[in-house]
Amino acid sequence: MTLLIGLIVVLVAFSLLRAFLPEQKFVPVTLALLAAAVLVGLHYEDLARVEFWAGTIGFVAILSALLIVMHPNPMVSVLFLILNLFCVALFYLLLQAEFLAVLQVIIYAGAIMVLFVFVVMLLNLRAEETLRAATALQRWGALALGIVFAGVLFWAIQNRADRPFFQPETFKQGFGTARDLGWLLFTKYVFAFEAASVLLVAAMVGAVMLAKRRLD
């Protein structure tokens, strides 16, 4: 964990240097690379730990999610959402859901995000200048509700029954593969599966109808 925290500190210092010394092109990069190299050299044993990599993926996921929300240009938001979806796919791999990780990359990062990129490029949107025009009361209310919501979630996580897990030697063989998922899908959840096919047909027809130029 020391290495991860050190690298995050180096990244923050690098961004601050870039922000306050815009004319210096190479000094911050060199300093940051040197500091990162020293950190890796001092704590190289962290590189072999799963906690380090999980923390790194989590940091990238949170950072990309923040950039989706904060960046004014929708195209950049789409690209960071793709990065975020890849991070979640890596989490699925860590949680032994290999088939879902593959599905995440194919369906989400592949199909759905291509749709988003296509629409953003088709509409040729300008970057929006301001955030939503809300009254001060609404803005502070939203902020307070968000903080309360996050607090409730963290409280729920902290107070749940504490059970250690994540020993790779206790992993069941074959858990999370396409074979097990397909078995469940076609026996126990077969009705939901058929309903999903109806939903997809309805969505397809609806999308074509909505996007048609003239409704007649």
């Binding site: 989590g58 938001s77 979640v88 759905i112 749709l115 969505a203």
Partner: protein
Amino acid sequence: MRVEFFLIIAALLFTIGCIGVLVRRNVIVILMCIELMLNAVNLTFVAFAQEGQTMSGHVFVFFVMTVAAAEAAVGLAIVIALFRRRRTTDVDDASLMRW
């Protein structure tokens, strides 16, 4: 390494997506924030499925992905129809059916 780590990451992602839905004006970005929230919930499902060693959580994630695909297709079609009529993707300009 505990399941709490994934739950905290999922809670953070969900909260960020929720804030995005509330503060952004562009419909496409709002749709993306909804995808972000769905992903956070999916991560929670997978984490609990791993903890309880049951595959039903994975099946639920599968269906959430299906619904997300349908939602993105219909939502983006609505965005295109809106843009064609009004030349805007601002949610505040499409408030006829708000109340």
